[in-house]
Amino acid sequence: MKISAKISVAVLAIATLVAIPLSSGASAAPKYKAGLKIAMISKIGNIPYFDFAMSGATKACKEIKCTVKYFGPNEGTAAAQIKLINAVVQQGYNGIMISANDKDALVPALKNAMKRGVAVTSWDSDVANAGRNIFVNQASYDGVATAMLDSVVSILGAGKKGDVGILSSTPDATNQNAWIASMAKQIKANAKYSGINVVATVYGNDDPEKSTTETQGLLQSNPTIKVIVAPTSVGIISAAQYVVAHEELKGKVIVTGLGLPTSMAKYIKDGTAQAALWNVPDIGYMSVYAVADIASKLVKTPVKAGSSFAGGTLGSRKAFIGDNGPEIILGPGIIFTPENVDSFKF
């Protein structure tokens, strides 16, 4: 009795000693459940964007000693993702981080996963609140829209008027529609953007061929366009390539939007395009921490406003209740310039 009491006091003392540096420092590794298995499900398995996110996820997993596996469906549909969700639940994964192809269709499968004790975070593209514990948002919709509008203003010149065309991905893409809506809202509300006149929005379906045809049609129907805004990493390349391929357009039409620095470097350096994006590896990194926090019960579910999520070397994030339930935001985006573009490896 005595000995065990002594031991428990000692253990308590040690625990307190350990706990003090834990709560203040970044080396938070020991408090996570050992052997967590996390499944990262992307929208579609063939684009580098998700590979770069995966590199961040792997890094985070090394730090907290979990394993993460990448699952990319062959086609960008909800049905393909549901199959993957059911499969990973059966295989005994503790956490799912998913970039959703559909807001509602995935909810039943994800609900079932949570019922079985699997922690679910959506990242990159959100699902309805009932289908996830938390959404790791790369940047607020308004923040992304502002970055793109600022870029347009820098091309047109402050206070100048100019026609702008938008080349989006699919007509029902959640993120793109939210960004486009936010841009429209800010153009109306903010005098700084009042010169921007959006004349048309076209959809390239994230397919190079279709995006090129649509860019062509956009400029044929609206020859006054000075800036093309492409809030998609596929469309922006097609638009930039179309402008590069036409002497007549060089310097007259500038492309901007969201793009990966490695694939946009050439166009950014020759002045054809500008581009902005959040740090892609970081969003994978942050999502692993979020899903591990919930799976290890370090954050209680349902997540309340003000709950703190550890973020490894990125620092912690406080949850808040967004339009669609609890979320955390990664942080401001990065605007790529001819000077800095080569320093990003994603």
Partner: protein
């Protein structure tokens, strides 16, 4: 009977104002002019400036593939793996030339070889083992795309890495005609010679008109059919390199699900889906018409759903016209046959 049909077709090739007007190709050409003029009246930029060369550049890939697919369809076969072969050739070519630092000519050589190998495998299965081409190439469609996914493994090649010469190739033109479209014209010219003036090509028409009869009269069905698939694969490979040149980006989803666009172009161009009828020129015109129509609808700002619906409608009209024409030529053949019978008796 085959020879009679062939004879009927050769007589039909004689240049004659009346038959020229009645030919299927002239019909497509007229629709083409009509669509272009109408669109240009509404939006002059459709043709002026760089509009026309853009249209031709857009047509290059589907045109190349239509020229490739035509001999296969004429032999009463189909190649559904054509778009997968194009996509795979695009990625593999990019991978190889970027790795070795090669330029334009080796790129086309590599692409053509990749395509030819795929075509040869299809050819052996269809012509050698006599398996139905629909099933064989449907399987190939998935297998090739699957290999592409595994091989590409989320990677992509963009303008940053691809050779600059190859990118420039799609921008260069002679008198406003892009080099790539000139390449398609050269390939089509070879195809026309092959299909119209060689025994080899005429045999394909015979095989497509009546496969058992072609066997009985001793036509080399295996080598003819096999080579048609190799030709189709090779052109798919070349189209893959064009994809790299035009879009300056390639991943494993390149040209995904585009096989039916090619089939549509070929059928609109008057090639009978049941074999035995049609020309390479017609298929090429079909591809141009299809792309001009897509371009016109985009230039006029028509919504996406209608663009696809109109393509479908065009296909149905084309098949309808085919039916009417083939019924007319059937009655004509019967009349000739009856006349001959009377002569003999």
């Amino acid at each position: 009977m085959i020879q009679k049909i062939a004879a009927f077709q050769t007589t039909n090739f004689k240049i004659n104002a009346k038959t020229l007007l009645r030919r299927r190709e002239s019909g497509i050409l007229m629709v083409l002019v009509l669509v272009s003029v109408a669109t240009t009246l509404i939006n002059p930029r459709f043709i002026s400036g760089y509009g026309l060369s853009d249209l031709l550049l857009n047509t290059s890939m589907v045109g190349c593939l239509a020229v490739g697919l035509t001999p296969v369809v004429i032999a009463r076969h189909i190649d559904l793996s054509i778009a997968s072969a194009t996509g795979f050739s695009a990625f593999l070519t990019a991978h190889i030339i970027v790795g070795h630092g090669w330029g334009v000519v080796p790129a086309f050589f590599v692409g053509a070889c990749v395509g030819a190998i795929i075509g040869a495998v299809n050819g052996v299965l269809v012509a050698g083992l006599r398996l139905p081409s629909l099933v064989v190439t449907l399987g190939a469609l998935y297998i090739i795309r699957g290999i592409d996914y595994q091989f590409a493994n989320n990677k992509q090649f963009t303008a940053e890495k691809l050779p600059t010469d190859l990118m420039h190739l799609s921008q260069d033109k002679i008198y406003g005609v892009p080099y790539l479209f000139c390449l398609v014209l050269l390939l089509a010219l070879f195809g026309v010679w092959w299909m119209r003036f060689t025994r080899f090509g005429r045999d394909l028409y015979a095989i497509g008109s009546n496969p058992p009869a072609a066997d009985i009269v001793g036509i080399k069905v295996f080598s003819r059919t096999f080579f048609a698939f190799v030709w189709c694969g090779t052109l798919a490979g070349i189209a893959g390199v064009m994809y790299l040149s035009i879009y300056a980006i390639v991943d494993s989803a390149a040209f995904l699900n585009q096989e039916l666009i090619v089939v549509t172009a070929v059928v609109i161009g008057g090639v009978n889906i049941f074999g035995g009828l049609g020309t390479i020129v017609g298929a090429l015109l079909g591809a141009v018409l299809l792309r001009v129509l897509i371009g016109a609808l985009v230039a006029l700002g028509v919504a996406q759903f209608w663009q696809q619906a109109i393509n479908g409608l065009l296909l149905l009209i084309a098949i309808g016209i085919d039916r009417i024409l083939s019924r007319r030529s059937e009655t004509k053949i019967e009349r000739i046959r009856d006349e001959r019978k009377m002569e003999i008796s």
